[in-house]
């Protein structure tokens, strides 16, 4: 029976992409339990809802997180539009899917880089982020922003992308797709990487269900659940299959995200083929009166935007339940009983986006 020590993991830690505090109770390099403590990056964004016009609040909603920013803004807009029964033009919905899928790609590439860094493979980290630069270049030229797009608004989108440009982008994505395949080959087949990720952080199917996991954490444990299949936005016209892998370990979650990169490229291809020529926005007047739970699929999982309005220009309440918040109970279960060297790999495998969790 060894002596127990408490190792503070975070909030400032070079391996963590965002500040979360975990007190790890260790016994000779084996973690007995992990006690979380959050609140380091709480900015009180939800309280700004009562002070900002609901149309201007989109800019605040975007800034909940820098990685999944577009999908936050589109989730919020979707909620307001559902409450006010606004019919968003089809072209705007397709463009929202276009930017959402680009967001998903850049988020997964960012994750691949940080994940490689967590097990000491800096070379992969550099390569993943280099590929990500090409995706960010596409986002910058179509919307003006690399990470915060500012192109979603209540009633549609702000900017248009011409059909010819969309076709060119799809062609450039083919080069990116080959690079992504080469990169993910290493993640999935290199022996030292497999040594660090196979069998690590196993989350069984029943645990994933009970503990309310979301996103690749849920799909890596064999549960087929992807909010895009409910057909919100333009997804009801697009063909997509949720990517599911059984295994429940970090390796399976990595496989899910690697396959989702390919699935995103396919969705962008479909958007370019099917996008209709309509308006990109409608005029919105009045204030939202009612409530709605808007559900969207973020790169990290299912996000819920709850909006409640009373008819005036300020909402009464905006609550965001982000996927990382839902993934914290599974994280704590996975950390119990693992080795200390597995801790960064497991923490990163749920793709922690603490700025989303804290708002």
């Amino acid at each position: 029976m060894g002596k127990r020590i408490v190792v503070p993991f975070g909030p400032q830690h070079p391996v963590l992409p965002e500040p979360i505090h975990l007190d790890l109770v260790l016994e000779d390099e084996r973690v007995i339990e992990a006690i979380p403590s959050i609140g380091y990056i709480h900015r009180g964004l939800e309280s700004l809802v009562t002070k900002r016009d609901y149309k201007n609040y989109v800019f605040v909603a975007e800034r909940i997180c820098g990685i999944c920013s577009f999908i936050h803004s589109s989730g919020y807009c979707q909620g307001i539009e559902a409450v006010m029964e606004i019919d968003v033009p089809l072209r705007a919905q397709y463009l929202r899917v276009f930017w959402s899928e680009l967001s998903r790609m850049h988020s997964h590439l960012l994750w691949l880089g940080c994940y490689a860094d967590s097990f000491g493979f800096e070379n992969l980290f550099m390569n993943a982020w280099r590929i990500r630069e090409s995706v960010l270049d596409i986002m910058e030229e179509t919307s003006g922003g690399r990470v915060i797009q500012g192109s979603c608004k209540v009633g549609g989108v702000r900017r248009d992308v011409s059909n010819t440009r969309l076709r060119e982008i799809v062609r450039s994505l083919e080069t990116i797709e080959t690079q992504i395949t080469e990169l993910t080959e290493v993640f999935l087949n290199d022996s030292t990487v497999m040594h660090r990720t196979k069998g690590v952080g196993v989350l069984s199917e029943s645990d994933a269900w009970k503990l309310g996991a979301a996103g690749p954490t849920l799909r890596g444990s064999g549960i087929k659940s992807d909010i895009r299949t409910t057909g919100y936005g333009a997804y009801e016209f697009l063909k997509m299959k949720p990517v599911v892998h059984h295994g429940g370990d970090c390796y399976a979650r990595c496989m899910v995200r690697a396959d989702e990169l390919h699935s995103s490229i396919d969705l962008i291809r479909q958007v370019s083929d099917q996008i209709p020529d309509t308006e990109i926005e409608v005029k919105v007047t009045g204030g939202p009166n009612g409530e709605y739970f808007s559900r969207v699929e973020q790169p990290r999982g299912e996000a819920v935007h709850y909006v409640k309005g009373d008819g005036s220009k300020n909402l009464v309440r905006h609550r965001v339940r982000t996927p990382t918040c839902a993934n914290i109970p599974p994280l704590l279960t996975m950390l119990a009983g693992c080795d200390l060297s597995d801790v960064p790999v497991i923490v990163l495998s749920i793709d922690p986006c603490i700025s989303c969790t804290e708002r």
């Binding site: 000491g120 493979f121 070379n123 390569n127 030292t192 060297s341």
Partner: protein, 285 residues
């Protein structure tokens, strides 16, 4: 013992080690698609460290790091002065024990766990150093470096007689250099779960001393590999350059492994390859 060589080692080794470290960083950067720092960057870094405020955790830490440096220098002096290989091995081991003590005196859990991992690294490496000395005794008839080099110049080709031992030594070279896949206790980047592991709480001029000791150690290890090619100095330098580049390549293409794999694989290599080599030699030489 050859005094000139000792003085040359004492004075030139940090510069040689620093240049090697600088080239290492540029080659690593180019392999990752970056440009890399200037070649003299390690010197700028160490110089900067000595300008920093002296933040000591306690007096013991300073003493331990100083002992680490002194013992590494002693090991190098013995080696380059033509002395006993066994003494070199033990001096290196004692130096690392002091480094482990330096890690343990700090109050940080990262430092403690890094110190424990450093001990595991010593355990993985020491059998090889002893077998290395024994192998040369069997072939050259003496533990002293001077005699070994003499015999090498006279025509004994160590590399053909001791390939297994050579391979074993290269395997632990990765561990000693603190490169992936074996950069467990502390690594050149602070991106592991232990922040910077063993050296988390060492800062300022004390850390500068640690860095200089590491430079000395690199030169000693290159020397130890070099005497396999005694008698052919040009071949020796080419081999060392190729070997170092191989180490950088392995660093860039592997993830960090866990300590169980490091110790097991190291002992496996030592047991299967180096030990068998020595057994064969002792039966047929």
């Amino acid at each position: 013992m050859n005094l000139i060589w000792i003085i040359l080692f004492l004075v030139l080794a940090p510069f040689v080690g620093g240049l090697i470290s600088g080239i290492d960083r540029i080659v690593t950067a180019r392999m990752q698609g970056r440009v890399g720092p200037p070649i003299l960057q390690p010197f700028y870094d160490i110089g900067k460290l000595f300008q920093k405020e002296k933040l000591r955790i306690n007096g013991m830490q300073n003493f331990c790091i100083l002992s680490y440096l002194v013992l590494i220098i002693v090991a190098g002096a013995i080696f380059f002065g033509g002395g006993d290989l066994l003494l070199v091995g033990f001096s290196l081991m004692l130096a690392h024990v002091f480094l482990v003590l330096a890690g343990e005196t700090a109050n940080s859990p990262y430092s403690h766990i890094g110190a424990q991992r450093e001990l595991l690294q010593v355990m993985a490496v020491e059998p090889m150093l002893i077998l290395y000395a024994v192998a040369f005794y069997i072939v050259a008839g003496s533990f002293t470096v001077a005699t070994i080099i003499e015999h090498g110049a006279l025509g004994i080709s160590y590399i053909w007689l001791l390939p297994g031992v050579f391979f074993g030594l290269i395997y632990i070279f990765t561990i000693k250099l603190r490169k992936s896949p074996f950069d467990l206790s502390t690594s050149h980047h602070g991106h592991q779960e232990l922040v910077k592991g063993l050296t988390t709480e060492i800062s300022g001029p004390t850390f500068g001393l640690y860095e200089i000791a590491h430079l000395y150690e690199v030169v000693i290890l290159l020397g130890m590999i070099g005497i396999f090619f005694a008698g052919a100095p040009l071949l020796c330098i080419c081999a060392l350059v190729l070997l170092y580049l191989l180490e950088v390549f392995v660093d860039c293409s592997t993830a960090r492994v866990k300590w169980q794999l490091m110790v097991k694989s190291s002992w496996l290599v030592i047991g299967l390859v180096a030990f068998v080599n020595i057994l064969a030699l002792s039966l047929f030489w």
